[in-house]
């Protein structure tokens, strides 16, 4: 696991109060905390963490942990694996 992945996981774990295993399979609205407001907080935190600015469609399409890995790659953030 590289540093970026560690940071990415940590954001999910703190924001949605889930463990690593659960975080990795998490989808939008799986937990109460990941609603539209939680989503905005997630995006803002990830943008700050990785110093990027995402486009509207990427923010909307960011529907799961796994999908997020793909999207972040587009912004040059390598999460390994």
């Amino acid at each position: 696991m590289n540093d970026n992945m560690k940071k990415y996981l940590e954001v999910f774990e703190t924001m949605f109060q889930v463990d690593e295993a659960k975080a990795k399979t998490l989808n939008y609205q799986d937990v109460v905390a990941w609603d539209s407001i939680g989503h905005m907080d997630l995006i803002a935190t990830l943008e700050d963490t990785f110093d990027i600015e995402m486009e509207t469609n990427d923010i909307i399409d960011f529907s799961s942990f796994a999908k997020g890995v793909e999207i972040l790659r587009k912004y040059g953030i390598d999460l390994g694996e």
Binding site: V32, A33, D35, S36, I37, G38, H39, M40, D41, I43, A44, E53, M54, E55, T56, N57, I59, I60, D61
Partner: protein, 473 residues
Amino acid sequence: MFHWNGRGDRPALLTEKDVWSYERLTEEADGIAAHVGRRCLVFLLTKNVPEAIAGYVGFLSHGIVPVMVDAALDAELLAELVVRYRPSFIWTPQARKAEFVGAEGAFSLGDYVLLDRRETAPFPLAEELALLMTTSGSTGSPKLVRQSYANLEANTASIIEYLHITPEERAITNLPLHYVYGLSILNTYLTAGASLVVTEKSFFSREFWRLMREQRVTSLGGVPYTYAMLKRLRFFQMDLPALRTLTQAGGKLDPELHAAFAEDCAQKGRRFFVMYGAAEATARMGYLPAELACAKVGSMGKAIPGGRFELLDDAGKIVTEAGRIGELVYYGDNVTMGYATSGKDLSRGDERQGRYVTGDLAQFDADGIYTIVGRKKRFLKIFGKRTNLEEVEHILRRWLAETGSSAEVACAGVDDHLYVFVTDGAMAGKVVPYLSSKLGLHFSAFAAKFIPALPKSASGKTLYRELEQYYDV
């Protein structure tokens, strides 16, 4: 309200798959009302679907009085409201039908069903009473605002006038109908003969933005939190050529956001209206004319057509000097009749006589433009929803008692950040999940802090000011 003629097949409601003309809306509305058949109280469980809107239009145009309730309201809180107000009928999505034990299905339309509660002891209704709105969407507060037909007509006409809503305009239902701001959009666009795109989709779906573009939505409204989200969603870069008007209400917009949206709108030739209102004034009391949006950042403007503001100082005298702070008082035909806290209040007449003391502290500048600077009453806006701190304390006290805790609790905070102070360390950790689920509001709005004892005055009153030192924001 809603006695329109000669609009025929002009579109009233547009959904993803369907168009409801004014003629069809009228027919469906009349059909629902006919199954009620008399003036009585109805609970309308709101979702942003044409069936809910048809129910509302039918009830209002046939003298049936709806209580607008969020269809997502907690079951226990909804049951308490039913006991307290004894509605004769419920117009509800099928999914919540089972909660109304003993009620019979009288009629259905789409996903909505009309339930007859066979109420044998309904409360009498005052003649001018048109509609009841909750003051707080999520605490399930039993306190309702009593709005008259004259209130609705006055406020609707005034809003249409200052926003210049023409039949060519098109709004979208991104705000709920149990919320006065959302409902005022419905009232004004339908009365003006314009159309509404009806959707339950949120900003976080491609479908919403596809609808905005394909249906050429001309007007978008939002609460402060909506604007924070829009900015993060890169709204400034979106291509929405039909969009001409943005409106904001539901609490004071952060001045930075106000400036950013005012400037972006000015560049794109759009109008941006910052507005001010309350359920107690039907919906709207003030607005900042779009041409002043850039020059008067942080201000909410002046009274709407037909209304008037006044500021009162601590001694109750009228403030005449610019820059001095006083409590904002509003006068107008849209000032509602008063509150109801139980069914027996529904027969009461007009208790406000066109004057509403807002509880907001404000000042005006040399141009007569008003700015809200604070609040006298103990409530917060959480994501645009008014949340009464005393009601939250009440909910928490009951919960603490049920769990066998004798802890004391106090709520305080600023908009979008509610702090709960509790004198039981073990319970402090459970407060946030409980409140978040009970009120249906995202947990990030709440923080719970353990405090050995609440700060109290000599007379035993909680000193909320002294709790401010514990805020993190």
